[in-house]
Amino acid sequence: MGLFIAQLLTGLANAGALFMVASGLSLIFGVTRIVNFAHGSFYMLGAYVGYTLMQVLPGAFGFWGAILLTGVVVGLVGVIVEILVLRPVYRAPELFQLVATFGVILVIQDLALMIWGPQDLLGPRAPGLKGIVRIMGEPVPKYDLALIAITPFVALALWWLIARTRVGILVRAATQDREMVGALGVNQSWLFTGVFFLGCALAGLGGAVQLPKGGADLLMDFNILASIFVVVVIGGMGSLPGAYLAAVLVSVLNVFGVTYLPQSTLVLMFVVMALVLMIRPYGLLGREEVAGDHGQSGEPERPIKPAGARVRLIVAAGLAVLAVVPLLAPSWIAILATDILIFCLFAASLHFLLGLGGLVSFGHAAFFGGGAYVAALLVAHAGTPMELALLLAPLGAGLLAMIIGWVCLRLTGVYFAMLTLAFAQLLWSLAYQWGEVTGGDDGLVDIWPPDWATSNLVFFYLTLVLCIGGILALRHAAHAPFGYALRAARDSARQAEATGIHTRAVQWVAFALAGAMAGLAGGLFVFAKGSVFPNELEITRSFDALIVVFLGGVKTLSGGVVGGAVFESAKDMLTRFEYWRLALGLTIIAVVVLAPEGIVGGLRRLGERIGLLRPSEQET
């Protein structure tokens, strides 16, 4: 009994920081309709800034003062980000905003590395609250009790702000209809900035307040991101009481999980979330979300046509070059080209889902990594030959996509996006925690192609054939009646239903096909590298693909492929620099703000301008 209560208290204490961060995300989303992916970064920043301030300010007064000051500092950083990065993209499709905030994540990661260095920082103890008290014989840290006491006050203050002040009334009004709020004379820009300040300040507070328990490190941003999403999805987007309830639920579950199911703490969280969503699709206290833009807005899209003769010729020539060059060049070229091809297929599969289906999946790595693990597990545990493994990888990933898609496609918009991300994290935690089977953090190694394909060159040709085949299959599906049905479902689900298209079924098939192709890429990846690790399932993997699709241009068919090629070669060069994340992040932000049509869209416009392409045959 004592242990039970002690654990309950630990869970409640952990819920504090989680609630602060999640409510910040929820507030920002409510008013600006932006899912701030950089929210975890503001949390991390809060921990670092708080650490520094606590070094400078002395005593108990200094400790608590530092926490409050951290909230202000991080809030101000949020204001800078809002003004420089987000203002230009408020009217852009969701994907642009997501990519912009992802650029912010990268920039903050490297800035933190520059300022505070790579080593983990141990948080200072709270003055006067060191040590423990015994409750029914069990030790409970005093600081935990302080957190349990403080959190309701933060929640109450927040509630008062939202429910009782003019700012709060405007925030709630804008959450429902921000255009109308503007037409009534309220300057939305400052309202948005104000909300961003508040949301980021909350994240910063969360980061600072957990310092004595967790310290500061460079992985905090992604580590908390999945938890915030789970909390927001379980609690209901935009509901503060929901966020509190869910934060407590998740934290308490985690603590008990560590004791009773140490193998599956991470998995537990997602299982609970899936259960809640089955019963209440919009969270415990949430309300149905009005579907927004799914990556499509602005000018109507140019019709997609099969490539014209000239374009086909160019593509054929390009392929011929691609096939010949590795023969003549040094062998690292063949290795790099293999990587690029694999990544192109991965990106193309996401592009298919996103561009044609309007389904913004944040967890596409689930299928890339899924395919990779299917192949690797078959080889490692069953001695399956590569040929069969490469067949079963896409099948396995496709099956996985059918299961995950069945759940996720019940929701739309941000909920769909967060749910896909959460499922990818679930797979990641499985791979990470189920050590006996997956090798855990050590991964599965020594998975090489059979003798006939060990040469880099041969494997490159194998990859070339399979990847080009996969990309052509996706293109073929796009031009087939199925592709039209998919786009109809994207543009107007209701009209599509009226013409007899079963939209969810069409989307489900698309999800499975995209998953299978990502799985094929994953399978090839395993044999190219000879190993697989859980990071093939990580958030960053999913984001890589999203960025590529975005860079290539969502509204062009070739965007995924071109973006993939550019990204993978750029990364190969960039990662040699120490602060490559900073460079990549700034590049991404610049592209979002300056060239929102992506590479293919931008080139196409350029081509039209200088007369290389006639406006009638641009679409490829």
């Binding site: 009004a173 037409a183 009534l184 004379g185």
Partner: protein, 233 residues
């Protein structure tokens, strides 16, 4: 006071307002008439800059407001009551009014909540109810009252009589007449000719985004061909 000169407005590629010109002088109540889809709503949105005209100018109190953000237009003294009312359903009546509150202006009447509850007595009893619990007529009143909280010198009303019970329509007409008598300038769009006649002194008939007629109701009655061609009576 309010002048539209050669406005062209679009939704994407659809050309909706075609070289539309229109004037409203201070203290006037003007009714914008026309069939469904004639462009009445788009005209009002083009004044508020919720739809920014691609060419032409909108002038208000001598200032060229074309291209201003909507909140600046509102702060210049233009109040907008949208067709769908767009009250905040999660907020109470009092909170809805709070959203509309702006600083007093010298050239316009200053409204308080109590004065508005006098104008719309139904709202007074419902002050703590949420927007979603109001009837259609009450929502319309709230939408007007919310806009008046900004102390506008000119109000744009989009079909104030649409979808409201006949008894309430009379209340609504009375309220608008009262506002007119206090010197408020009003531009309202209407399909209900009877209602328009009761509150407005001048009629402007729109069809396919251009003005077909502009004059007194007596002149409108004297030209039945206009009524038959451009109005659905």
């Amino acid at each position: 006071m309010l002048e539209l000169a050669q406005i062209n407005s679009f939704y994407g590629k659809a050309h909706v307002l075609r070289a539309l010109s229109l004037q409203v002088s201070r203290g006037q109540v003007v009714a914008l008439l026309g069939r469904n889809g004639a462009g009445k709503t788009t005209t009002l949105k083009s004044i508020m800059q919720l739809v920014v005209p691609r060419s032409g100018r909108v002038r208000f109190n001598g200032a060229d407001i074309t291209g201003w953000p909507a909140h600046r237009v509102a702060r210049a003294g233009l109040g907008y009551v949208p067709e769908e009312r767009r009250i905040f359903t999660d907020l109470t009546v009092l909170e809805n009014l709070e959203v509309g509150r702006q600083k007093p202006r010298q050239d316009a009447a200053i409204w308080s909540r109590d004065a508005l509850f006098e104008l719309f007595p139904n709202l007074a009893e419902r002050r703590h109810n949420r927007g979603r619990d109001l009837s259609g007529g009450e929502q319309q009143m709230l939408s007007i009252a919310r806009t008046l909280m900004g102390n506008p010198s000119c109000v744009l009303l989009d079909e104030p009589s649409e979808g409201i019970a006949p008894v309430i329509i009379e209340d609504m007409a009375r309220a608008i007449v009262q506002l007119r008598d206090q010197g408020l300038t009003v531009l309202l769009s209407e399909q209900n000719l009877h209602f328009a006649r009761a509150v407005a002194s001048r009629a402007v008939v729109l069809d396919r985004g251009t003005t077909r007629f502009s004059g007194s109701f007596a002149d409108l009655d004297a030209s039945p061909e206009i009524r038959d061609a451009w109005l659905s009576v």
